[in-house]
Amino acid sequence: MPQIFTASADTRLRALALLLVPFLLVCVLSLGGFMESTYGTARGWVVNQPVPFSHEHHVGGLGIDCRYCHSSVETGPQAGLPATEVCMTCHSQLWTGAPMLAPVRRSLAEGKPLQWQRVALLPDYVYFNHSIHIDRGVACVTCHGRVDRMPLLSAAHGFEMSWCLDCHRNPAPHLRPPDQVTRMDWSDWDNDRERQRAFSRQAMAAHRIEPEKLDDCSLCHR
């Protein structure tokens, strides 16, 4: 029976093994970096939408409150996307012929919903409830970023679990007066640490927020 392996086979195998070690190392590192990169988390990337809706214009420019369109944010788990009707409350009067708004008019005429692409995405096994966060005074900007500066919407955070937990384990710095949650610019608070600390102490006591109970798995996963 002839030899299957040649005499140099051992050497070649060892060389290959040696090469494999740095290769795997590179793989692991790049994978780790990749997962946190904006490419991995889609942070800062815009998505094609049926209508190039500008939050910058509607929120920053016109000053429309978030809750005008996202109306169930205070009452339900989901903030809600506006029904075509809501868009048309204004756009039946303004820009009635704009080609950009043709899909909206078509949606109303045909009774078929607009097909928006989600930007703020959570996995299906995460049950997030907007209403309780709004009620406690977690401002919209905390998770969704400065949408008033986004001509086209993109995610401001990657929504990794560790990012959620950072806040759940230490919610105090993120609490704001609930009647102002939709405010975008909190620079006055950020610059006035004392005022912010005094408020969060009050809020934590008033709502009896116990951070040690806020990292139970069951809070979000069920």
Binding site: L108, I132, H221
Partner: protein
């Protein structure tokens, strides 16, 4: 235990400290080799597959799965489209459920429900707590009706001669034919329905009879109350419906009458009985149940004294009971010692409070026998039974309606037969020869929710709308009417029964207008207010007929001689799929039947004695013969079955009716006679030598220990030897603060009806796995109801025990998990984190209660669109490879916690109701905060009857039980 050839050598673990002998199967009791092999295998699911796999193939598969396992993580998130409304319906908040009060029906009677809907999709049905009949109690059929709505096998479009057709074609054909009937005064036009309580349908049928004087309406309900009404006719001279008031009955004597068993009356009877039982536990009066029956029933399991007798002895027993109550002490003929003792105790119990006593006889017994019981109740002046005019209307020819119709058909008198939600080609007694008679009918029209046996034999088949998608009305068992409102837009192109009949009469309005017309005539000027009120409350107040006084006649009752001794077949409704109408409901097919825990099929129940003499073993194919008709099915030995009685159940052996329904079990209808429908003398019994596969869960998830079901002599006696003393533990004790959740299950109240199991399935998106996998022990139910026998197999005591996750404070599963997927929460819940779980199944092997279920396959991935719409959006749909288990309905806890936090208040006691608790007709389950000493669950746990399952394991379970109360004079 002499005389039936069973070993009394209990395996050692069964006779352990508690001293009581529990067993789950006869193999276990006898300690056979098969049983030891089964135990040795630990998990039946891991037992070698029948088709042997070679070692090399196994290694190859293992290597491949190991290599490919990681790839499942490489799935890139697909972009997700969000679809807002075009015009948002008022008050709809996505993610926030809305509730509608409506009703589903069972055998014509309304089961009042409150439907929970998410953005227009019903996802859960609950009992209506305001309803005067049920008080919120539910049953398996109510819970499973939801799946009926989303059933992908539902008929979706009309068919003519089996080919797809249009409604227009049907309407045109019918209009032409109805015009012809105008000329012949409707001669030859017949309508066949099931039991009808709908005032609108009755109004329409009356209008048809007026327009076509020769038109005839027939009623066929396989399990109806026809005999009961005939009995009332004999006893009181009027056809009346009886209404039991078990809440007033200190003593109930049931002679082969399954009052707590499945059926339209179950929810109400169980709720009333549990009220009485609770009053008794609180020291008010008694709650004694004496049952004599040939085969184990749910009622029998709750009996203080259960007498095993053949159906033929019932007439004898009622006569003897009447004499004993009358004071006759002399020699009452032909009673054996057991019967005499049972009757003496029963008579003594009645004597103590005659007006609070009740004697009932099953609907399958001849009317004269039942009439005796009715008269006896009158003589006792029993307050526990009342009578009203019949709730469900009957056709002119009463109980023999179907026979009459078949006769007319055979004689050629029927030109057109409309079958409205009836399936006589399947459910007519075999002896009737329905198919042959139907061949003589020129036009058969079938309207039903499935393309079933009758649809296939009909010229026209048209789909009916589901009750949850159209308007109608119906009456509950107490006569209270409900408006049935749709809770979802129709999924397919079905029509409501009312709409169908209206169109025959040339009325083209929709079902809402038709139902409104009925009630507009009743309410007149008050219509708008009362209609709205009826819809919001789910029933029409004070719409039940008034009780009438029933004066017993003195006419002699023509007693028929009891059937001769010998083998007798008793045909009963199936405990999970009823008369077959739920055959295509996978939740009910997979639901283990209370006795024997058989799923996906029916068996022939035989007694241990008969099995011993004829050498019959479980699963042996038996062929029964009577009057030239045959039926063949697998034998199943039922401890507690009368020696010469064989039990068949209806509903299986379907030829058509959906993918789930077909090719399961045997058809007991084919075995039914015309005169003897439910009790048949057997002329032949042979075993064919074949073994049939029966998927039973009776021995699955067996707990190793003792004293599972405890009993105490007195409601105030302690059930646990070391109550409330925590044993030392190696693990550090954790102090919990309020709220911290726990559950208490009262075994004294549990009747083993399974409503909780179906409710859990619906609430928690529990997948169905099918017959093959159930047989391998891979059923997924988060909540199971264990059934134990105790004592002599000939007349054992019967016990039920619902077992959800125990949420142990010192949970063994948490110690075992290598990836920390089983963890404890601050509010005392034992959590399973699906996204962490890698499926080692260590937790399951560490769990002493065997309550964890593993997803062996992707059960839900291929689900059709309609089933996806049914899922509860608040609960994760678990995927392949993860462990899952009862969460105490975490989604309901979360909803209540968020609602309370938003209002800055603590969660109130009773604010969180788990699905099983809500479904339970006897309120055996209570859930709440165990730290709050004033909560309902804490006060239950403070009762002396409180004990923990496997106390000795020191797992400190949060789910605890309340012991059953042993009947007086039964102490050991």
């Amino acid at each position: 235990m002499a005389g039936h050839g069973f070993s009394t050598n209990f395996p050692p673990q069964l006779g352990a400290p508690g001293g009581r002998q529990f067993w789950r199967s006869l193999d276990e009791l006898a300690g056979t080799e098969e049983f030891h092999a089964f135990l040795a295998a630990e998990f039946p699911s891991l037992m070698p597959l029948a088709n042997g796999i070679e070692r090399r193939s196994l290694l190859r598969a293992m290597a491949a799965s190991l290599t490919l396992a990681g790839l499942t993580g490489c799935k890139w998130d697909t972009p997700e489209t969000a679809l807002p409304y075009v015009r948002a319906p008022e008050f709809t908040v996505p993610g926030q459920p809305k509730y509608y009060a409506t009703a589903v029906s069972l055998s014509g009677y309304a089961l009042p429900v409150v439907a929970k809907t998410h953005v227009g999709r019903p996802v859960k049905l609950e009992g209506n707590t305001d309803h005067p009949a049920s008080g919120g109690a539910s049953d398996v059929f109510l819970q499973a009706s939801l799946l009926g709505l989303y059933d992908p096998d539902r008929s979706q479009a009309p068919r003519h001669l089996g080919r797809p057709a249009t409604w227009q074609a049907f309407d045109a054909d019918m209009a032409r034919r109805m015009a012809e009937f105008d000329a012949t005064r409707g001669a030859g036009l017949r309508l066949l329905t099931g039991a009808v309580t709908s005032p609108t349908l009755l109004r329409q049928i009356a209008a048809m009879a007026q327009r076509w004087p020769e038109f005839r309406w027939h009623v066929s309900e396989p399990l109806d109350d026809g005999n009961r009404r005939a009995a009332a006719q004999l006893a009181f001279g009027a056809r009346l419906d009886r209404h039991l008031h078990l809440e007033r009955a200190d003593t109930v004597i049931c002679l082969d009458d399954d009052i707590l068993g499945p059926g339209p009356h179950q929810a109400r009877n169980a709720r009333c009985w549990s009220q009485r039982r609770k009053a008794y536990r609180d020291g008010d009066g008694a709650c004694r149940l004496f049952v004599a029956e040939p085969t184990p029933t749910l009622t029998g399991a709750k009996a203080e004294r259960r007498l095993v007798v053949s159906t033929g002895r019932i007439a004898e027993l009622i006569v003897a009971l009447e004499r004993m109550i009358g004071g006759e002490t002399g020699d009452i003929a032909r009673l054996d010692a057991d019967e005499r003792q049972w009757l003496e105790r029963a008579a003594a119990a009645i004597h103590s409070r005659p007006t609070n006593s009740l004697v009932t006889i099953g609907a399958n017994h001849p009317p004269p026998v039942q009439a005796l019981a009715l008269r006896l109740n009158s003589k006792l002046k029993s307050t526990a039974v009342q009578f009203t005019a019949p709730i469900a209307a009957s056709a002119e020819d009463g109980a023999v309606s179907l026979v009459q119709l078949a006769g007319d058909m055979a004689a050629g008198d029927v030109q057109t037969l409309l079958m409205l939600d009836a399936n006589p080609f399947y459910a007519a007694p075999g002896e009737l020869g329905w198919s042959e008679a139907a061949d003589k009918v020129p036009l058969l029209v079938h309207a039903g929710d499935h393309y079933d046996e009758s649809a296939a034999h009909s010229h026209w088949h048209v789909p009916l709308a589901h009750e949850l998608e159209a308007w109608s009305d119906a009456r509950a068992v107490d006569g209270t009417a409900s408006i049935v409102q749709p809770v979802v837009r129709p999924l397919y192109h079905g029509r409501a029964a009312q709409e169908l009949l209206a169109r025959l009469m040339g009325d083209y309005r929709d079902s809402r207008a038709i139902v409104q017309a009925t009630w507009r005539a009743v309410w007149r000027d008050d219509f708008d207010a009362r209609w709205t009120q009826a819809l919001t409350r789910g029933f029409i107040e004070a719409s039940a007929p008034a009780a009438v006084s029933a004066t017993p006649l003195d006419d002699p009752l023509g007693m028929t001689p009891p059937p001769a001794d010998g083998l007798t077949v008793v045909i009963q409704p199936d405990l999970t799929i009823w008369d077959g109408r739920f055959a295509n409901n996978a939740w009910l097919q997979e639901l283990p039947k209370p006795f024997g825990k058989i799923t996906w099929g029916n068996v022939i129940g035989v007694s241990p004695q008969l099995a011993a003499t004829r050498a019959i073993r479980n699963g042996d194919e038996l062929v029964l013969e009577a009057d030239g008709r045959q039926v063949a099915g697998p034998a199943w030995i039922m401890p507690g079955q009368e020696a010469n009685t064989l039990t068949l159940t209806l509903g299986y052996g379907r030829q058509r009716g959906g993918h789930v329904a077909q090719n399961l079990g045997y058809d007991a209808y084919a075995f039914q006679g015309v005169a003897h429908q439910h009790v048949i003398a057997v002329t032949g019994l042979q075993a064919t030598g074949r073994k049939l596969k029966v998927a039973t869960t009776q021995m699955h998830q067996a707990i190793d220990g003792y004293d599972f079901v405890r009993e105490v002599d007195d409601p105030r006696a302690a059930a646990s030897q070391s109550p409330n003393t925590a044993r030392a533990s190696l693990y550090p004790a954790k102090i919990y603060d309020s709220p911290s959740w726990g559950m208490s299950i009262d075994l004294d109240a549990c009747i083993g009806c399974n409503a909780c199991v179906v409710a859990c399935t619906a609430e928690n998106n529990v997948p169905v796995v099918g017959k093959e996998l159930v047989a391998q022990g891979r059923e997924m139910h988060w909540l199971r109801v264990d059934q134990y026998y105790e004592g002599d197999p000939v007349a054992p005591r019967l016990h039920f025990q619902p077992v959800p996750c125990m949420h142990c404070e010192q949970a063994p599963c948490e110690m075992g998990c290598p990836v920390n997927a089983a963890v404890h929460s601050e509010d005392g819940l034992n959590l399973q984190v699906y996204n962490r779980c890698i499926g080692t199944r260590t937790c399951s092997s560490y769990c002493p209660y065997k309550v964890r279920r593993f997803n062996w396959f992707e059960y839900t991935g291929d689900d059709p669109e309609s089933l996806r719409a049914m899922r509860n959006p608040d609960v994760t749909v678990r995927s392949r490879g993860v462990m899952e288990k009862c969460t105490y309905c975490l989604q309901r806890i979360s909803a209540a916690r968020i609602a309370a936090k938003r209002e800055d208040r603590p969660i109130g006691d009773g604010e969180i109701v788990t699905a099983c608790q809500q479904a339970c007709p006897t309120q055996a389950i209570v859930f709440g905060d165990v730290i709050d000493p004033d909560s309902a669950v804490s006060s239950r746990k403070a009762e002396p009857r409180n004990y923990a399952l496997l106390e000795e394991a020191n797992t400190r379970p949060r789910t605890t039980y309340l012991a059953k109360i042993r009947p007086e004079g039964d102490g050991e």
